[in-house]
Amino acid sequence: MTALTRKLLRDLRRGPAQLLAVVALVALGVALYGASYDAYRNLDASYNAIFDRYHFADLTIVGGDAPAIATEVATIDGVATVATRTVADTPLRLADGKTLTGRVIGLPTTGQPPINQVEVESGSYLDPSRAGGVLAESHLADQADLSEDSTVEIWVGGTWQPLTVLGTVASPEYLWPAASRQDVLPAPGTFGVLFVPESLARQVLGPEPAEATQTGPNEVTVYYTPAARDDASELDARLAALAQRHGAADVVPRDDQPSNATLALDIKGFEELAIMFPVLFLTAAGLATYVVLTRRVARDRAIIGMMRASGFRRRTVLGHYLTTGLLCGLAGSVIGVLLGIAAAGTVTRLYIEAIGVPLTLVSIRASTVLGGLAFGLVAGALSALAPALAASRVPPAEAMRGVVPSTRGGRGLLARLERWIPATRRLPAAAWFVLRGPTRHPRRTLYTEIGVVLALVLILVSWGMLDTVRATMARQYDQVQRQDAQLVLDRPADAAILDDLAGVPGVAAVEPITERPITLEAGSKTYATALLGLRPDTTMHTFLDPDGGTRPLPATGVLLGTALREDLGVNSGDRVSLRFLDGSPADLTVAGFVDEPLGTFAYVSLDQVRALDATARSTGALVRFDPGTDAEAMRRALTSRPGVVAYEDTEALRRAAEDFMGLFYVFVGVMLLFGGMLAFTVLFATMSVNVAERSVEIATLRASGVSQRRLARLVTAENLLLVTVGILPGLGLGWLATDAYLSAFNTDLMRFATDIRPGTFAWSALAVVVVALLAQLPGLRALGRLDLGTVVRERAG
């Protein structure tokens, strides 16, 4: 090993805490990249493996002449398999009497269907000899504690029919148990899926007066060849056109399938993080590396001068200091890659366990490992480049000089301020010590500020997301949805039943609601949603205008979720077509748009629903309770009334939404922790460098009788000045970053309007100040350990 290499290695051990801070930042950045990106890819791979194994449909066609559609679709190139089935929603009652919205899906009793197969997790598959035997989807089974031989009832033909659970199953269609794309946050106990013999599903479906002709299967599922799947959109469009010719109401590609769309949206968060986190941390690491190495080069100027005077080439010196950055980057990235691999596996398993996915694929990907290493090395090299170049440009004559303090006296803002406002000259010297400190190395000061800003961005993004999600929930459940419960009735919601429900003690108000699945069409664009019919003077729903105000439900025309303005390309006053599930069409005028956090619906008055479909009737009721009533008692009282077959508790929905955010809160906590660590390490690096660089003057002041406590106060004041200057831009950028990050999650299903409480800004700023005070402690302790004689003699020459 050459003496130069030995110097390099031993130099790394000089002031190791600063370099360790850099290594920690790189490691965190790379680990978060690895963890989030591999978690995303693990989950994606797991889902895809499940889709392959269980032949998850590439396209689902709802309504229309299913047998005819299936026959024609089977002849199209790229279609591997086609199947038909019957799917129907009906109230479901559990053994304890609780009711929920049930969905029955027909399966062949003789064996698995060719498409959308199920994984039998306990018990056995359907048996032709057991007509009343059904399979419970795993989420329902978990929530209702169903197992083999449990009993459930479904509402068929006006009565409750008991069924026996033969087994519990997982389905690729219900990895996330979303009832529809508009209902992606189902509350436990409000929705459940049963896989039943096809004949039973058809019995549940009809015939009903409104759909008297429909007694056969009502869905076609299509599975593509692998080659066709690679370019699915073209085939999707072709099959959609074909299906619509046969009266299909809705065509759902795999990407839009409710469970898949929800999970894709969720894991998209990991993908976003895989970019955002590393960018923040590696930028911070870069700043810290720059600051630490610049200080080292300044400290080593005389030695670098000696080396150059002795014949070392510029590139040797350049390489010497560049290697320091590279080694920090390498050490950080190796640690980060290892941490990332461990974290990715853990995150994937936790996530999959929380969701209840039957298959987990966790693998170590060479591309992620190499990417992580490359990120760390590039961050180290790039940030070391400027100091290393500066080192290589140190003239050999530096070896002849003692330490010359850098001076920028007479220039800059402060100097001008002093000239313009003579009174400032009366400020005590201590004030100038504090004010001038940051102007000595403007670039380093700038980087310290960037460190403060980055830390605030990370903290505020985490905290701001929390605030925004809470505000979004409050907006949805306190402002938009005003009912405490929604009831499903087995009869039209006429005056008699509404009066009866209104008479239940604790009920403040009752209103009818009609809910019909529809597909909206405008030109070639379509959108599947629900048409909700309410009284024009409804008190159960507030229609929030996109401009921030509220508006009433119009007597004529439809209010559309604001996402449809873009998705369908329509504006107020335009005509929009809609198609009911049975294929019957209608036209409406767009009366305006509503801005709602969850879902994108179409709202019309009840009279309009009846005008569109004479046979339509309200079979739902919205109920608001008197303040302070016991929700559980109300559930018992209302579900015992005649005609009430299912009950959905708004508070339960809200709790479900908050539970859904449980993982998110953990994630926010981790982000806050990382934000604090980032702030600490960046500020530690810069502040300890500031103190180290000024050891001579500080020692001189101490030698002159200035107390250590007073010096510590001056240094603290200077550091606080630096942090304070960074706070305002940090808070502003933090808000923008939160907005940008959340907007990545905005879809037609969920919209977040960035809403950060003023207190959050204050607490975030305070958190950074506290972290800064902690970060300067090692530097202040070093002040106390200064050997005055040695410092003054050796450094000043």
Binding site: A3, R6, A397, G402
Partner: protein
């Protein structure tokens, strides 16, 4: 000792008039800055140093002695004039050529030693010697023996006295066996005793045949030189020569 003073314009030496010069400065001038900020650090200096000679450059701060040393050491080029070392003109060397020149031809001893604090005495010596392929342990130890520090080879700079540190710096300079040793205030940061030790070492190296150019403002050191060049305001004022330089042991200040 028989000193004699003569004007700086004549530059013969008593150390051997018939030998080829080790160093020649011909009208060498150095100007820093431009316009109002122009500083004439060296104003057209002529100086010849013969092989084996020990020349001491004396003068107050700002007299140009360190600038002269920098020109000879190839640290910076003259603004005008010529610099010839060992028969090679280095005046117009570019940065790369000057680096190669410094590597092979000169050894530097600095006022503040400039030892690498994270390397032992031996490693400090090897650091520079490795540049010329003379960085093996034996040679480096030999250099340390030359300065009387073989027993301190494994000590770090912080474990050495100031005099010892300067002697390590001298060992570092001579380990690559340069024909010319340039010393910038070698005793400037040392007390009397340790300073004398360093002078003894330098004299011994000179007596072994090495050419030395020593910058100092300590007039006492002039006693051990073959020639003493006094400078002021960038010019050579006088050159004093002696046939028999004094012994370092007899120097005091």
């Amino acid at each position: 000792m028989k000193p004699s003073a003569r004007p700086a314009q004549t530059d013969a030496s008593t150390a051997g008039d018939d030998a080829a010069p080790a160093v020649e400065l011909l009208g060498a001038a150095k100007t820093y800055g431009t316009g109002h900020a122009e500083v004439h650090a060296l104003r057209g200096v002529d100086l010849t140093v013969l092989p084996g000679e020990m020349v001491v450059l004396l003068g107050p701060s700002g007299s140009g002695k360190t600038t002269l040393l920098n020109l000879v050491g190839g640290i910076e080029p003259p603004t005008t004039g010529r610099v010839v070392v060992g028969g090679r003109e280095i005046t117009d060397f570019d940065e790369k050529a000057r680096t190669t020149y410094r590597r092979g031809t000169v050894g530097f001893v600095f006022q503040f030693f400039n030892l690498v604090p994270t390397l032992t005495a031996l490693e400090n010596v090897r650091l520079v010697a490795e540049l010329t392929g003379r960085g093996d342990r034996e040679r480096a130890m030999h250099a340390l023996e030359d300065v009387g520090l073989a027993d301190r080879a494994d000590h770090f700079p912080a474990q050495l006295s100031g005099g010892e540190q300067q002697r390590v710096a001298i060992a570092r300079a001579i380990a690559k066996d340069p024909p010319l040793l340039l010393c910038d205030e070698p005793t400037g940061a040392l007390d009397l005793e340790t300073g004398l030790g360093v002078l003894r070492t330098l004299q011994r190296l000179n007596r072994a045949g090495r050419t030395l150019l020593v910058v100092t403002h300590n007039a006492a050191i002039a006693a051990i030189a073959h020639r003493v060049v006094r400078m002021r305001s960038g010019e050579i004022v006088t050159v004093t020569t002696t046939d028999t330089p004094g012994d370092a042991d007899e120097v005091t200040w």
